[in-house]
């Protein structure tokens, strides 16, 4: 007998109606969620998952409308509901958790009021009772000091706290289904791990159903029972977590899993496989398979015509896939993998960039009346404290850390956008840390360039991209008009862009293309060192692998030294030679890639590695969830900056004394009070246990 499903979507299609006519966003999607079940919805930008969430909640921003199909919740068709009934479902039936917690909260009302009002208007209780319930739910989401949080305004809380509040706001109505739309995308990895764990525990306690929307396969693997993969507005694969991750049937799913760099795997044994082309929107779908033009197995006669239905891929009909050729696909992948060249690691001794005891402080105002009268010193934020490391010629040095660790400040000091407060940055026998960009010679400017994080802001929207690259070439290299044009074409080719792109403007290019242009611009003067600040974080998952590979290829061909700033440890393992781990302005650990990803770890590195969600439900890892928040940067920590959250904290010595820089075998350095031998003993060989395939 079929269980009564909590929610069913039956052939739902959604379109937007703008001045250009109808634009399809979701086409014939059928899903169902049982009571207490967790369904994950995976897809990249433009696949329609956010539109689907809006359709379920019945609230479109803009001019969207469900054009076909029905959504049935708790047995009732949602299309036929009046506004009063819709309101009842929204408070008590389906609760929503948003992506950007800060903007989802009203900046003018206290947290307590925003929580209590849900109860007051749902159950008609008094405000006093509602506020008490608000305090109890704040405790449920593991927020310390609920009374203070309830009296605070949203901007007074940190990102992680805000997200917990948003979850509390959805929970307080006791919904049957919790809809989470990318709830942790804006958060740091360690905070994210905490939130994900909270969601899992809450679900177990309240027996709620979840619809978890994300582009992060690892998170889905951690939280959900079943997963559906969306591409260009339709579901292309669906099934239980273990089945889909162990045996992905659709080439897109395989591609997605295959293009994510994994921190727990030796990259030589598992190269990155980028998916060619870029994701399309539902309205640009061709006839036949939407993924066809990017698929290596595309066969026009089979895949290019007519509608392709979802077929079962296993006997129990739980795992379905929308592909004509799924039976034949599979063996070719391994063959292709063999030809892919991983990173060639060289041993090099030549330090091209040496940073010694680098300090960078920012002044902040806020002394208070007494402070001013008493002449107290102006408070500073110590963004970088005593950083010391080397970058070797032709190698990739990765700087790893979460927000607030000072890595962007470091990038600015290296390139001259900021000037160091103390310490040295030695390049070619000069301390360039004290030379700002406007005082640098053209040769120096040419040798040290930067690729920026946000592809939407990295190019000037008022000029064509060709003009911008040409300007960089002219300024950094000089030469005649013909020479510049030639070099511009070279650079475009180098970054795998067609010459036709040169005439376009930034808004006509995709995120991946914009970042390629940014790379071309940085390499215009043939630099010796390139600082890349989170170059792929803002891009879609399938595009990240391509850009990462591009950077790697260019670097290996030209022998450029790459200083890569990233928070993505899988990427770091794939592309880096050496790694520096930063926390709150200090270096916690540094060493080669091989040394860093195996024990002994600094406790922070250990937490960081364990927090990375892996798209492999079978892989077990040691769960270390950090409690507490990043401390206030204005508070000058005397001892180890990590002591307030460290799960391996020894005692008062961590608070009062600077940890020593201990040397482990090799060039591996760990700044911790715990002796390396003890760490090694406590941590085993690695954060991840051996998988049956022995992929460590």
């Amino acid at each position: 007998m079929r269980e009564e499903k909590l929610m069913e979507l039956d052939g739902v299609s959604v379109s937007y109606f703008g001045r250009a006519g109808e634009a399809a966003a979701v086409t014939h999607v059928s899903l169902d969620i049982a009571q207490g079940e967790a369904l994950g919805l995976v897809g990249e930008s433009g696949c329609g998952k956010t539109t689907l969430a809006a359709a379920i909640m019945g609230h479109f921003s803009g001019t969207g409308r469900i054009t076909r199909g029905r959504i049935v919740f708790q047995g009732r068709d949602m299309a036929g509901l009046g506004s009063a009934e819709l309101r009842k479902i929204r408070s008590g039936g389906i609760g929503m958790v948003y992506q950007d917690a800060m903007s989802a909260l009203n900046p003018s009302l206290t947290i307590g009021e925003q929580l209590a009002e849900v109860v007051v208007f749902q159950r008609n209780t008094s405000w006093k009772l509602a506020r008490r319930e608000a305090l109890s739910i704040l405790q449920d989401v593991q927020l310390p000091d609920p009374a203070r949080i309830a009296a605070a305004y949203p901007h007074q809380l940190s990102g992680g706290q805000q997200q917990r509040v948003v979850i509390a706001m959805a929970l307080i109505a006791r919904p049957a289904l919790l809809l989470l739309d990318e709830p942790t995308t804006a958060l740091d990895v360690t905070i994210e791990a905490g939130i994900v764990e909270l969601i899992a525990s809450l679900r177990a306690r309240h027996r709620m159903a979840l619809l978890y929307i994300s582009h992060n396969l690892g998170l889905i693997a951690q939280v959900c029972d079943r997963v559906a993969v969306m591409y260009a507005g339709e579901i292309i694969e669906q099934g239980p977590i273990d089945a889909v991750f162990a045996q992905p049937r659709h080439p897109y799913t395989r591609g997605l899993i295959g293009c994510i760099p994994l921190p727990h795997v030796d990259p030589a044994k598992r190269p990155l496989m980028p998916i060619q082309g870029q994701a399309i929107q539902a309205q640009d779908r061709p006839a036949g398979c939407a993924f066809g033009q990017r698929c290596a197995h595309f066969d026009h006669s089979l895949c290019g015509i007519g509608f392709i239905a979802l077929e079962p891929a296993d006997k129990a009909e739980l795992h379905v896939v929308r592909c004509c050729r799924w039976r034949t696909v599979g063996d070719d992948e391994n063959a292709a993998a063999g030809t892919e060249r991983g990173k060639i690691r060289r041993v090099v001794d030549d330090a091209i960039l040496s940073v010694r005891k680098l300090d960078k402080n920012y002044a902040v105002d806020g002394r208070g009346l007494w402070g001013m009268l008493l002449g107290k010193p102006v408070p500073v934020i110590r963004a970088n404290q005593e950083l010391s490391f080397d970058a070797f010629k032709g190698q990739t040095l990765a700087i790893v850390g979460e927000s607030g660790c000072g890595k962007t400040t470091l990038a600015k000091v290296l390139t001259g956008l900021e000037v160091a407060t103390a310490g040295e940055v030695r390049y070619e026998n000069a301390n360039i840390g004290r030379i700002p960009a406007q005082a640098r010679t053209p040769e120096l400017l040419r040798s040290l360039q930067m690729v920026f994080q946000n592809p939407d802001e990295t190019l000037n929207p008022s000029f064509s991209v060709g003009t911008q690259i040409a300007r960089a070439v002219g300024k950094l290299g000089g030469g005649t008009r013909e020479r510049i044009a030639l070099r511009t074409r070279e650079l475009l080719e180098m970054t795998h862009l067609t010459p036709a792109i040169a005439a376009r403007r930034a808004h006509q290019l995709s995120g991946g293309q914009r970042q390629r242009v940014a790379i071309a611009r940085a390499f215009a003067g043939d630099p010796r060192i390139v600082v890349a600040d989170e170059p792929v974080s803002a891009l879609d998952v399938s595009v990240r692998a391509a850009i990462t590979r591009l950077l790697m290829d260019i670097q290996q061909r030209h022998g450029t030294t790459l200083v890569l700033i990233s928070h993505d440890l899988g990427l770091v393992r794939y592309i880096a030679d050496r790694v520096v781990v930063m926390y709150l302005g200090r270096v916690m650990e540094q060493g080669t890639v091989e040394e860093l990803f195996l024990a002994p770890y600094h406790p922070y590195t250990e937490a960081l590695l364990s927090a990375v969600p892996l798209p492999d439900p079978r892989q077990r890892k040691r769960r270390i969830v950090l409690t507490g928040e990043l401390p206030n940067p204005l508070h000058f920590a005397v001892g180890c900056p990590f002591h307030s959250r460290c799960p391996r904290k020894v005692g008062l010595v961590c608070e009062n004394d600077q940890p020593p820089r201990q040397q482990a075998p090799g060039g591996h350095e760990i700044s911790c009070h715990i002796p390396v031998a003890d760490l090694l003993r406590a941590q085993g060989s690695s954060v991840w246990s051996q998988t049956p395939t022995g992929q460590n």
């Binding site: 406007q438 053209p442 040290l448 802001e457 990295t458 000037n460 300007r471 940014a518």
Partner: protein, 300 residues
Amino acid sequence: MTSGSVIKGKLGQVNAKASALRIVLVQVARLRESRVAMIGAGLVLFWIIVALLAPLIAPFPPNATIQPLAKPGTLASNGHIFWLGTDHLGRDVLSRIIWGARTVLVYAPIATGSAFALGIPMGLFAGYKSGWIDEILSRTSDLVLAFPTLVLYIVLIVKFGASGLNIVLAVTIASSPAIMRITRGLVIDLRTRGYIYAAQLRGESAWYVMLVEILPNARGPLIVDACLRLGYVTMTIGTLGFLGLGLPPPDADWGGMINEARQFAIVFPHIVVFPCLAVSSLVLGFNLLADGVREISLRE
């Protein structure tokens, strides 16, 4: 240098000018996207054409006293019609309105233009360089903004006399702080973009970054403000004329026309109503244009 390359050079220059013109025309063509902008542009264009063709279309000389207090539609002795009647001194209202458009549409753009010419560089500098330059410029502009504008105008004009130049100067002094503020805000917002850092890492000079990298991307709000400000300045010129502080008579000036004729408005409303309609329609045109341009820039 061969003649071929000289010709190529000249062609290059012509090409550059043509493409600059094309860019401007493309921008103007985008006005079509908003109905509100089209109506506004239509009104403004109407008055611009009227002002340009003033000598050709005005039936009578604007200062010629012919036939006092004639009602609209009366026939004059020379065969032309007083379409909008005449004022208390016998001057044709229609002709004075047409010539008055010239006055307004010469001084308003010049005054606004010079306010922008002063305000934009100040704002760029204050926003980009920060530090004490920013402090000084901001404090000074706060100071000037604290003066109610009309009082400022009155004081300046009373002291230095009423003339076109003085009006332009007064408007420039009074308006450039506000423009500086707007520009400064835009620059502060834009200066942390990646392409600005990229320009700095190329060794571009500060002026290059301000004028070439930042300013073109700040044009949306500035254009909207320019349209609005043209409206305000039109009103200010009218107000000054109304108060008797405008351009010296007998130049046709809409505000002055209204003021001179107010005691006759009892029996001869036509003398005041038409100039009121004229000035309101021009200001409306500028306001609608501003709204439309804002709509368009928000949509992109």
